[in-house]
């Protein structure tokens, strides 16, 4: 939803009118949504809500919303309209605001508000198709920056490893978590290589192997931030970094074992 608005300057300029119906049965998701709405305020949406029209045919819900409305911010309160009544009545009320929803609703024998499913299905399919088109377009634009062979990195991908001293990032970034897991699998071999001989070739082979796995299997790059840009480390630098991290991990593990 937000992604669609991001691509649509007309909607950004004019704002959105929200029409939501609060009909139907009570369900658990309603309470979950109320809980989330208290955590994530509605006003953090990246578009202007011109007005909100709520439809309800349930008196309990009507009064509940009316009571909650008192606690809305003043501007939201003014722009919030609650319509109570049968589908036909609410449809006429919405027409006074220039909103024609007649093609979405029809009356059944029990006079309940239900959706015009056939029309809705077609529009939902169209909506999903449009969103997927926008997604594909975005992916095409971003493709050069996601190529593991590219020396330029506009931003780190989730598989990329962020090098540097920013521990908070290193602890939470998915690429760094994966990087640490891969290294932990090789620590024992590295300790053995340290014990068996002082020849560096075995240890170097391990770091080369890890680098190969990171690049081929995980499509990862090792990134370093320089001023306002990301630089992809070349193989030599990357291998040095991996060796250094392995050495630290091996030292930690040996110390723990001794204790």
């Amino acid at each position: 939803m937000n992604s669609v608005v991001e691509d649509d300057p007309i909607t950004q300029q004019r704002g959105l009118v929200i029409v939501a119906d609060f009909g139907g049965e009570w369900k658990s998701s309603s309470f979950e949504l109320i809980r989330y709405s208290t955590v994530y305020p509605f006003h953090t949406q990246p578009f202007r809500t011109v007005s909100t029209h709520c439809i309800s045919d349930d008196p309990t819900r009507y009064h509940l919303i009316q009571a909650i409305r008192k606690f809305f911010p003043q501007d939201t309160r003014r722009r919030f309209r609650l319509h109570f009544g049968s589908p036909l009545e609410t449809e006429y009320e919405l027409r006074t605001f220039g909103l024609d929803v007649s093609h979405e609703l029809f009356l059944e024998e029990d006079k309940r508000l239900i959706h015009h499913k056939k029309d809705l299905e077609a529009r939902i399919e169209e909506d999903i198709r449009r969103r997927q088109q926008l997604d594909d377009e975005w992916r095409r634009q971003q493709a050069p920056y996601r190529d593991p062979a590219s020396p330029i990195a506009l931003f780190p991908n989730q598989h990329d490893v962020i090098m540097g001293r920013k521990k908070v990032v290193a602890a939470t970034w998915p690429g760094n978590i994966m990087y640490r897991q891969v290294l932990l699998e090789y620590v024992d071999r590295y300790i053995e290589a340290q014990d068996v001989s002082s020849d560096r070739i075995n240890k170097t082979m391990i770091s080369v192997e890890i680098l190969h796995i990171l690049k081929s299997h995980y499509k990862s790059r090792l990134l370093n931030r320089e001023d306002t840009r990301w630089v992809v480390l070349d193989d030599t630098d990357a291998q040095t970094k991996i060796s250094r991290t392995l050495r630290d991990l091996a030292r930690e593990k040996t110390t723990i074992q001794k204790l």
Binding site: R14, K27, S37, V50, P59, A67, K70, R79, L99, D127
Partner: protein, 221 residues
């Protein structure tokens, strides 16, 4: 028009859906001062000046003028936004700082800044607060790895606990160029919460642990 006060059902209807025997809605709610009445709305509107009220009414009916975005206005507004950001403390703009750290070009991204300026009709301070809040919520919901990315259809999963299979919202263009947003779910008002993050390979990224993660298997079942 059916008046809710005339057609009120019996007290049995006012059960507490959370399970308590205590009535959720007081019977006094429709009496004076109980709910948000038309008089309250009139009082709220009367606080505004004539021009403000006129602008709001025009806005609600979708006929308010679109602000002409001249190069000078855009440049000045973005500059003001940067000044406001500079005055905020680091705790407030933590998510924004993280986003800029991950994608330095974002700090000067005119297109991105314009989204928030348009949302607040070029009020720089309000637009900055909105931008910072938006990034915070986005980070909470989607984690660091998607903070600087577009949330695509593949990243979301339609909430399965909704009873209706038509719980999808659409933006409908109307004839006069105004867009209106139609939520097709039964009681789901907030589009932001109609979707939840699809389970990703590396868990623990979302900062709110209580978020329910919907997996592909759940969807199938």
């Amino acid at each position: 028009m059916l008046s809710p006060t005339e057609e009120l059902p019996g007290s049995a209807c006012f059960c507490n859906p959370w399970g308590s025997s205590k009535p959720l809605i007081s019977k006094d709610v429709h009496q004076e001062g109980g709910g948000y009445t038309d008089a309250d709305l009139a009082a709220d509107m009367n606080v505004l000046s004539f021009a403000e009220r006129q602008a709001m009414v025009e806005d609600i009916h979708g006929v308010l003028d679109v602000i002409e975005e001249t190069t000078e206005l855009v440049a000045q507004s973005i500059e003001e936004m940067k000044q406001v950001l500079g005055r905020m403390n680091s705790q407030q703009r933590e998510a924004w700082d993280r986003a800029v750290f991950l994608r330095p070009a974002l700090a000067d991204d005119q297109r991105f800044h314009l989204i928030f300026l348009r949302a607040r009709r070029f009020q720089a301070y309000e637009a900055t607060v909105l931008m910072v809040s938006y990034m915070r919520v986005k980070r909470d919901l989607w984690g660091d790895d998607l903070l600087i990315h577009r949330i695509t259809w593949d990243d979301v999963s339609v909430l399965i606990c909704s009873s209706s299979e038509y719980d999808v919202e659409t933006i409908v263009p109307s004839e006069e160029g105004r867009r209106y947003f139609r939520n097709h779910s039964d009681a789901d008002l907030f589009p932001f919460f109609s979707y939840q993050r699809r389970e990703r390979r590396y868990s623990g990224m979302g900062r709110i642990g209580s978020l329910k993660v919907v997996t592909d298997q759940d969807e199938v079942s």
